[in-house]
Symmetry: C2
Subunit: 217 residues, 2 copies
Amino acid sequence: MENKHLSKNQLRRLPGYLHLLKSLSASGMKYISCQTIASCLDLNKEQVRKDVALISSIDGIPNKGRDINLLIKDIETILGYDDTNNAFIVGVGSLGTAFLHYKGFENFGLKIVCAFDKNPAIINSKISDKPIYDIANLNSEMINKLNVKIGIITVPADSAQEVADLMVKAGVEAIWNFAPVNIVLPKDIIISNMDLATSLSVLSHQLYLKKHKKGEE
Amino acid sequence: MENKHLSKNQLRRLPGYLHLLKSLSASGMKYISCQTIASCLDLNKEQVRKDVALISSIDGIPNKGRDINLLIKDIETILGYDDTNNAFIVGVGSLGTAFLHYKGFENFGLKIVCAFDKNPAIINSKISDKPIYDIANLNSEMINKLNVKIGIITVPADSAQEVADLMVKAGVEAIWNFAPVNIVLPKDIIISNMDLATSLSVLSHQLYLKKHKKGEE
DNA sequence: TTTTATTCGGTAATTAAATACCGAGTTTGG
DNA sequence: CCAAACTCGGTATTTAATTACCGAATAAAA
């Protein structure tokens, strides 16, 4: 219905709103104003108003705000959390294993159904009830059978592109990449990079500044 | 020497440059132009030029570019990768365990030296040669002895703030937070949030758009 | 040596994001 | 029922980020 364009920054703020709203709703609150959201999350109120206006299906009520649960539903719809997407992991190393154990993804509408790896020692075993298949079997037939649209890459950097190509060939629609490389893909494939190095760089740089401001060794 | 201000966005691009430069350097290239970096990473060349100008200690040579290895060193310096920071983990769940196994952090100047948890079953055991201590022992004495300035939070959302407070009280300078909550901290403490939900939201939303554009169920 | 193709640095123009403002309407409390 | 206090939506302003432009300078090729 609404074809409004959300910028990446706006999109990134939504999970924060969602989290707050859920905890407020859980504590019994029924209505919320944009201003309240802003002060809770220490954001600019105009910014929150603008964000909320874009994603909300209803108008706010003056001097009252919006129905929290309706707003939660709107955000979840926009983020696609309301219907479940099946996903699979390629690369059952330490990170991949952690993901197979991690239950939290289902809150975001992501259900990890299986994994692929090339290590014969673990192929056909299970982790947290999710089967590990031979990477050689990752093809379109397989992903149709499993009904998965999302591939998660948790292999080392040097094989990430190769895995991505394999995924595309098998017909995935979206890739969530945890390897610290720039993956080149056809334009119609959705990709989101989760780069630890990038996140760490912000921290690391500020620490550097702090050190050098103080003049410490 | 240079007190130029780097924006968060610029900072986020640096790890990408660094990775590219390293692989080009490894393949024997000696000089690189900003334009080449831009085309490799599919970025705007003016943007790369501006970024590089801010962080480079030397001027570029017309029709030649810059010494790759010098540029690598400059980026590593700015990001603080060139001297090692010791860090510790709080929360030895699946993600925490993965991090204790993961070797890649050392490339970014981050050395995880130990972990804390409250689970008696694992306290005093070791993972990947790194000891796991009782969270009750996380205090200023301890972190001085270990010489750690960075704390990594991998506990569930509902105890993240509590752990963060404990870290601050113990005297850490920076916190890398993997729990999906907004942590409130004194202003002089550096924090970087690594929120899986935020990263996933971008992917999830695009998938939602794709579905609804096609008019599929 | 001269020409040509690049690259640089600095500045200007464009675009996008964040912030501020304001009139209108609604709930709440007297 | 009326006044005061909020909140809204829309618009305007400010700020920051991105992109484009241009003259000068160098390396490489002719």
